[in-house]
């Protein structure tokens, strides 16, 4: 595994440099159009690159969590989820339990962020929390925490922040170009044919930059999904948990609202699933869900990287696990499923209540039980009327 971790560090560095290169060429293109001096644009781009890299390193996790609209929760808010994250922290041997965040969104997804295993966070949508039973939730959390353990998270945060920067700059540069009626290009063409060609190349690059950056990003994010799946199977000793969770994720048609192009690869499954952009798409940041499910289900009775690699070979003739992970002796027998509805395990209805109570608590809703029929009424903080009538029995309840 260590080889994998250090390879990830190298890849992080390579990625940051390649994105930096894209950003600097973009700066050159912007310089040609909007400043008299293309090198002025390069200087600005270099400064932006350094600042954004530092910001991504120190603040990447909080930016991404904020962009996704994630809110941190405490153990008392959702003891069951905390319990699972604690369990998985021990199973995968992280030095510290990740912070737990909730995204109030009916879509089904989850992601992990962080700089290193001692400073990390996992985020999960409320929709997913309601849908998954214990084994499935364990599988998803183990997958996310495997990203932390395998040091994918820093790379992902850096890439997301840099990609976001490139997308924003290109967006505004091309809009400015459009609204200024190509002022810059006229000026360039004054200086002769050579200038016009450079300007044209610059223009093309301004449009292509975000696509380049995204391609770099895609190239690195697919393989690590397989590795995280394999790790999750090992940590939970139950590949079926993640397989069935992925199936639920794949069947869901809701698109997560807090996701954007830059943050998409962080999620467990690609959050964009509008028609014409299926999760199995070639340019997708994630391997197809159906393939991931098939591999997990083919692992048989041993939860190990070797078993995962074998299953992947049988399913899609691919080598997906790095050699260093295969030499280790980590192999454990698969355990039995936990029973849904067993003592202390809530069913679908109870899980929904549990999650909603947490969200209501976080949004400062007040609970009021109708004095007559006991129907539960929940009042939002902006509900200021002095009394509310129970629609079930007609009793007027005072709200103060």
């Amino acid at each position: 595994m260590w080889e994998q971790i250090s390879a990830n560090r190298t890849r992080s560095a390579v990625l940051v440099i390649m994105m930096g290169a894209v950003l600097i060429i973009l700066g050159y293109a912007v310089g040609i159009y909007f400043l008299d001096e293309p090198w002025g644009g390069v200087a600005v781009a270099a400064a932006v690159w350094i600042i954004m890299t530092l910001v991504a390193y120190f603040q990447g996790d909080s930016i991404l969590l904020a962009t996704a609209g994630a809110k941190k929760i405490e153990k008392k808010d959702h003891p069951r989820l905390f319990n699972i994250v604690e369990e998985m922290t021990i199973a995968c041997g992280l030095p510290r339990m990740p912070d737990v965040y909730i995204i109030d969104d009916p879509a089904l997804n989850a992601f992990a962020v962080g700089r290193d295993p001692s400073k990390s966070a996992v985020a999960i949508t409320s929709g997913l929390l309601q849908k998954l039973n214990r084994d499935e939730l364990q599988g998803v959390m183990a997958h996310e925490m495997a990203h932390v353990k395998n040091r994918d998270v820093l790379l992902m945060s850096m890439a997301a922040v840099l990609l976001g920067t490139i997308v924003i700059i290109s967006y505004y540069a091309s809009r400015m170009l459009f609204y200024s009626g190509g002022r810059g290009s006229r000026r360039s063409s004054d200086s002769g044919g050579g200038g016009a060609i450079i300007a044209l190349i610059g223009l093309v690059f301004m449009i292509l930059a975000p696509i380049f950056a995204q391609l770099i990003y895609f190239a690195i994010s697919r393989r690590r999904e397989y590795l995280a799946d394999a790790s999750a199977a090992l940590f939970t000793r139950y590949p079926e948990g993640l397989a069935s969770a992925l199936e639920k994720l794949g069947a869901s048609t809701n698109q997560i609202r807090g996701a954007n192009q830059a943050t998409a690869p962080m999620y467990t499954v690609n959050p964009f699933r509008e028609e014409g952009r299926k999760a199995a798409d070639l340019t997708s940041t994630h391997p197809p869900i159906s393939e991931r499910v098939k591999i997990l289900r083919r692992m048989g009775h041993s939860a190990s990287y070797q078993a995962y690699e074998r299953a992947a070979e049988e399913t899609s003739k691919k080598h997906v696990i790095p050699a260093s992970a295969l030499t280790g002796a980590d192999s454990v027998p698969v355990r039995a499923p936990s029973a849904e509805g067993a003592v202390g395990e809530p069913d679908k209805f109870a899980r929904t209540r549990e999650t909603q109570n947490m969200l209501f608590g976080m949004a400062n809703y007040r609970q009021l039980n109708c004095a007559n029929c006991g129907t539960t009424l929940r009042l939002p903080p902006n509900f200021t009327a002095p009394a509310v009538r129970c629609p079930h029995c007609g009793t007027v309840n005072k709200t103060a």
Partner: protein, 139 residues
């Protein structure tokens, strides 16, 4: 969450382990997708997903009634019919966030609606509304 019709704050009413958002002003009702799925689990059992999808994606009804915005995604909602005796015109979020039932009209229709005749998802949904909002409807 605010009412899609009059924008006053909606309260949450919980009945039979299922919650719905209710506007005390106009008595309209909002079912978000999650709640609708739970209700369909009771109404359709194993076919719950298909039932929910059916409710959220019916053909658009032609009507002059004003469009309402989805309280979750803020996009304009579509008009569709549910039930047959008599049918109710409801608003459905095109992105699948949920269903909106206008207050007054719904209550009128529900007071005439015969409980559980068909036993399909529409009847179960309307029965549920009728039971939850008993006091409102019998007024």
């Amino acid at each position: 969450m605010n009412c899609p019709k009059d924008h006053s704050p909606m309260i949450v009413v919980e009945h039979d382990r299922i919650a719905l958002d209710y506007c005390p002003e106009c008595r309209g009702v909002w079912f978000d997708r999650g709640e609708l799925e739970l209700l369909m689990e009771l109404a359709c059992g194993g076919e719950a997903d298909a039932c929910t999808a059916d409710l959220l994606t019916r053909p658009e009804a032609t009507t002059a009634e004003a469009r309402r915005r989805c309280p979750i995604c803020n996009h304009n909602m579509r008009k569709e019919h549910i039930g047959q005796q008599p049918a109710v015109l409801i608003d459905s979020c095109g992105r699948g966030d949920g269903l909106w039932f206008d207050g007054g009209e719904l209550h009128q229709v529900l007071s005439q609606f015969q409980a559980g005749v068909e036993g399909n998802q529409d009847a179960r949904l309307l029965d549920f509304l009728k039971e939850t909002l008993k006091a409102d409807i019998n007024e």
